[in-house]
Symmetry: C2
Subunit: 177 residues, 2 copies
């Protein structure tokens, strides 16, 4: 397996294609992580959600970390880690332009939004719509790594040779990263 | 979309099948999240990794959160969130039994371990093996949710009716969870 750090351009390309990540936040030094849908723009992620634990925690502590990956198998994967800062986009005049921008990008990417919302209204015509929060993650740092099979793995190396099989247990536990 | 909370038995079944999760830790109230391989046993996750930022952070603050999911599409997904505590399993007599148990379970699940390690040794016969850390996450709380298409979605509901299309923008932004 060959691992290399992603360039800024490679991170940009991966984040532009992806739309699902895992967002971690923290309260009193206790972490919490959940999946999110997002749209990437240079220096920003835009997302939406209903009010819940992660929103409550991010309102108290805006420091967040988002991980985005594409894992095919143990020798072929990409993982990007973003450190950033949460900012809510409330439905107020001050945020109108950015909220509209976020909504437009998210609707363009996730076409099922409007369909799902309309279906929800059909099902529950008298119910109050679920309150949705639009937010922005201001990206402060992005790091990425990509693994690919090396020549031995690509050639179909399948089982360890006798000498490796007889390696003491303690050494065998030292696995490659 | 119909969402229900998973029972303990459903969480157990999902975690037993899965082997990849996203682990979040925190330092000074700053979260960090990365993908991990794990094996689930009731009340525990066992994992392995090389020394890096997450190990350094978990040594300082053992509170962790692990998210495990299976996302098919926006109406069909399962997500489990585990709160727990990190414990390293060092290569010392005190931890020998638990470390052996962890290693046995991980090797059974991730057959590529030994193969990958042997290949690494062939490639770099004179190099020092990467130091590997075995660890256990003691599970303190597990919650899970599963979404499935409802009758309308399952029947192929494709586009919002005119009345929904004419819903004002502000209401359209209130998306279902």
């Amino acid at each position: 397996m060959v691992i290399h750090d992603l360039t800024a351009a490679e991170c940009h390309e991966t984040l532009s294609r992806s739309g699902i990540g895992r967002l971690a936040c923290a309260r009193d030094n206790v972490p919490y992580v959940v999946p999110i849908y997002f749209v990437y723009e240079p220096d920003h992620l835009y997302g939406f959600t209903t009010v819940g634990q992660k929103i409550e925690w991010m309102r108290l502590n805006p420091r967040v970390c988002v991980e985005v990956d594409d894992i095919k198998d143990h020798t072929s994967w990409t993982s990007i880690v973003i450190s950033g800062r949460y900012e809510e986009l409330p439905d107020t005049p001050e945020y109108e332009a950015e909220r509209r921008q976020a909504q437009m990008l998210l609707e363009k990417r996730f076409l099922w939004w409007q369909t799902a919302h309309a279906a929800e209204q059909l099902r529950r015509p008298d119910s109050k719509p679920s309150p949705t929060v639009f937010y922005c993650i201001h990206i402060e740092e992005t790091t990425g790594r990509r693994a690919a099979p090396d020549a031995i793995e690509a050639a179909g190396f399948a089982s360890p040779p006798t000498s490796a099989r007889s390696t003491p247990r303690r050494r065998r536990s030292r696995l490659p990263s």
